[in-house]
């Protein structure tokens, strides 16, 4: 057992191999802290050669490897495997090149998401995917999860915003997937690898697309007397041919929780509010904002506010961004779901969620990336009350099953990881799951890369899990979550 650690120590600097139980605890979970496992050791390679060397040893010794970025993921994707090696890519944290002419950034996987846009800003460019954890989460993790953000209705997910990956396979091959051209010959392995949760290869370099930074932004806030009307407002904006940069909805429970927390000025009697962000050139944003305001009024909004200036716009957003911590104040614990549904079913699904809420005797708050149908119901419970945790988990499972039943999916942006492995069996049949396993086998014949995640074995379909937040304390409490 120790021979692996000795072999790793022989090829890495002393501080790059962590093996004492106390120091290993830092790595025992990601932001889904209900699941904890101590790995055999953690390695922190500093360059591609060291990653390769680690992979070769693990392959030779038949030891599982879990690659990890900042560990901000919400589905347990970076949960260690007992006796396995955790490979933190945190030291591969350099932006290798910003190419303003080609509008590309070449970065190492440990680079933080936000720092790409910061580095591109002098050229008037930005990197579009902006998960709420963007100040901490890394590009490598974003690729593994195909991360989205609040602006993906207009700008797409990670898969739409990368052009190349360098990966290392478990067999020790360094492969370049994609290029700086817009397509490559053969199969679209770039798409297959994006969102593959570290199970097909270890990403050691990423080429990102940079977009021109919009000149102007405008935020509108609309209040509605019913969730239905708010849903109609969203549909009417889209029907008018407008694609907002962001389009968010929050139900009354959410509005009240937020308002008592940060006093964003939200109308507390509204059944739902919509936040709509428009961006583009000045003239475009000016005319679209007026158009959206008219549409929302016609859709039955009881009130529409247009941010007078940047500060007011930020205040509108502040409430939405504070929704998770605000809920943390009103409940001992909450459990965050991540289903996506066709938007037209929003009223029906929220009704089902409310019915389930009564049935399980647990409160629920709904925040919703309304533009793309991505729901984040937050189930309120108290882990100290016997049975509540189990009820919350079962309630959550029912919500995801409802999402699948109306034509949606169990995870819009958080990934399956270890958390939603049970619901994968609801969404996919046995033949489809077997095909996923076969794909993994094609890339990773010994099954050593992040084993046990994302795709359940047919036997494991009964497993279950959740994102648990105790006493308002999220793992990474300093990160925004929305």
């Amino acid at each position: 057992m120790s021979s692996v650690i000795e072999r790793l120590r022989a090829i890495l600097p002393e501080e790059a191999v962590i093996s004492g139980p106390e120091s290993l605890q830092v790595y025992e979970c990601d932001a889904l802290s209900a699941y904890r496992t101590l790995p055999r050791c953690v390695v922190l390679p500093a360059d591609i050669d060291q990653v390769l060397a680690v992979i070769r040893i693990c392959h030779a010794e038949n030891i599982p490897v879990v690659a990890r970025g900042a560990g901000t993921g919400l589905s347990g994707g970076a949960l260690p495997v007992a006796d396995g090696v955790v490979m933190s890519l945190a030291k591969l944290n350099r932006i290798l090149a910003i190419d303003p002419d080609r509008r590309l950034a070449r970065v190492q996987p440990g680079v933080r998401n936000l720092s790409v846009s910061e580095a591109a800003a002098p050229y008037g460019l930005f990197y579009a995917p902006d998960p709420s954890s963007q100040i901490a989460c890394t590009i490598g993790g974003n690729v593994a999860e195909n991360s989205g953000g609040v602006h993906c209705l207009k700008y797409g997910l990670t898969v739409h915003n990368i052009t190349a990956l360098k990966i290392i396979t478990i067999e020790g091959e360094l492969l370049v997937i994609g290029s700086e051209a817009l397509d490559t010959p053969g199969f679209d392995l770039l798409a297959l690898l994006t969102g593959s949760e570290g199970m097909l290869g270890v990403v050691v370099e990423v080429t990102l697309k940079l977009l021109p930074k919009p000149v102007q932004q405008q935020i509108l806030l609309a209040a509605f007397d019913s969730v239905d009307a708010a849903g109609n407002g969203v549909a009417a904006i889209i029907a008018a041919g407008i694609i907002p940069a962001g389009l968010e909805m929050m139900d009354n429970a959410g509005i009240r929780a937020v308002e008592s927390y940060i006093h964003a000025g939200y109308p507390v009697d509204a059944a739902a509010i919509l936040l709509c962000e428009l961006d583009g050139v000045q003239e475009e944003v000016d005319s679209s904002s007026k158009e959206v305001a008219d549409i929302l009024i016609k859709s039955g909004a009881s009130e529409v506010r247009m941010a007078k200036d940047k500060a007011e716009g930020e205040k509108f957003w502040a409430g939405r961004k504070a929704a998770f911590p605000a809920v943390g104040r009103i409940a001992a614990d909450y459990y965050c779901m991540d289903g996506t549904i066709p938007r037209k079913h929003i009223a029906r699904v929220l009704q089902t969620i409310n019915d389930l809420s009564r049935q399980y005797g647990l409160g629920v708050v709904n925040v919703f990336h309304a533009g793309d149908g991505n729901l984040h119901p937050l189930i309120l419970y108290d882990v100290a009350v016997p049975g509540e945790l189990e009820r919350a988990e079962e309630f959550g499972g029912k919500i995801l099953e409802t999402c699948v039943a109306v034509g949606g999916t169990i995870t819009g942006e958080h990934g399956v990881g270890i958390e939603k492995i049970n619901q994968m069996c609801v969404q996919f049949n046995a033949q489809e799951l077997i095909l996923f396993h076969d794909i993994k086998h094609a890339f990773d014949p010994p099954g050593l890369l992040n084993p046990g995640k994302a795709v359940p074995t047919l036997k494991r379909c009964a497993e279950f899990g959740a994102m648990h937040v105790h006493a308002g304390q999220l793992p990474f409490p300093e990160l925004e979550r929305f």
Partner: protein
């Protein structure tokens, strides 16, 4: 539609299973408009035209789901009625082009660098694998990270991984206003301008360099297009917007030629390439059409040096390799994936590479 779809699927599945058992290769065919694309193949034709019709389209969801054999024109007409479009502007190369063919070939039109490619908009696929299994991946929603992204893997795989039966696609509103601009200039200036403008908020939706002319299309809100026009200060084009659909469909005079036509996909800033022939630059510099008699190896070598890849598109030898050869380790992965989806290699065998 009149055909009972479950019977049809049953029949298709039985044909695939029979082919799997006998080892008889199958050629997947929709409207046949892109049969020229890829390597020549032999086998029994499996025709998907009966598998046709729009399954679901709700404009406010920005999603359309249709059977693979549905004609692109039918889809585009349905979308146009609600002011929407397929944002990747798929070339039809014929009236009977189908959705399945467009997705399997993975070709995108002039807007591709600015609005995205086919695979960017594919949300879900139902397919029939070489094992005879009908499987569904992805869905009808825009955000979906459950399971590996098999729908996008199938996009552009030329039917070698499965027979596409149904596709869900994200659609977008048609731009409120479009205009075409043109200017006479040299290649280097055109290339520099196209790349510089793509880095600014200028509502750019297409850019080509063709016969000494830099051509630009602007799309978006009328106000935004107007402001971009002021900044670009180009003359309004005489060829108008038709130019762009003719470029997409290869109906321009440039394409009326018997010489081998190559498609070179390269980084957009790539300068003059040392290959003799006639050039038409599309995609703001990133896609280059070349009519040439240069030897295949030269074309592949020089394109690879530029960081791109070359495809023999029309004409020339389609019994040999038409796509840029893959590095051995990548080819190995392709073979393994082919094995997963189509273990007996019956689907469009050899259409992409001789090896599978």
């Amino acid at each position: 539609m009149s055909v009972n779809i479950s019977n049809l699927y049953q029949e298709l599945s039985e044909r695939v299973i029979a082919a799997r058992n006998s080892g008889q290769p199958l050629i997947i065919k929709g409207g046949g408009s892109k049969q020229f694309y890829g390597r020549n193949v032999i086998g029994d034709v499996i025709d998907l035209r009966a598998c046709s019709g729009i399954i679901a389209y709700e404009p406010t969801e920005l999603v359309i789901t249709a059977y693979a054999g549905t004609r692109l024109q039918e889809i585009e007409n349905a979308l146009a009625q609600h002011g929407q479009m397929l944002p990747f502007e798929p070339p039809g190369f014929g009236d009977y082009a189908t959705l399945g063919g467009a997705v399997a070939c993975g070709l995108s039109g002039p807007g591709r660098p600015y609005t995205g490619s086919v695979r960017d908009y594919v949300l879900g696929i139902k397919c029939l694998t070489g094992k005879g299994e009908i499987l569904t991946f992805g869905g009808q929603v825009m955000k979906n990270v459950a399971g590996y992204d098999v729908s996008r893997l199938m996009t552009g795989a030329l039917g070698t991984l499965g027979i596409i039966l149904e596709v869900s696609i994200k659609v977008m509103p048609r731009p409120e206003y479009e205009t075409a601009l043109t200017r006479k200039t040299d290649f280097n200036t055109a290339l520099t301008s196209m790349n510089a403008w793509a880095g600014e908020s200028l509502s750019l939706s297409a850019a080509s360099y063709d016969d000494g002319q830099l051509n630009i299309r602007l799309s978006g809100k009328e106000t935004a297009v107007a402001s971009a026009r002021k900044i670009l200060a180009m003359e309004e084009s005489g060829t108008e917007l038709d130019y762009w659909s003719q470029l997409r469909e290869h109906q321009l005079a440039f394409f009326k030629d018997t010489k081998p036509l190559w498609r070179l996909s390269v980084p957009s800033t790539t300068g003059n390439m040392n290959l003799a022939g006639d050039w038409l630059i599309d995609w703001g510099g990133a896609q280059r059409w070349l009519k040439t008699d240069e030897p295949v190896d030269n074309i592949h070598r020089i394109t690879e040096q530029a960081g791109g890849h070359a495809t023999l598109f029309r004409g020339g030898d389609h019994d040999g390799e038409v796509f840029q050869p893959l590095k051995p380790a990548l080819m190995q992965l392709h073979l393994r994936l082919k094995q997963v989806f189509d273990p007996v290699w019956i689907l469009n065998r050899g259409r992409m590479y001789r090896d599978f």
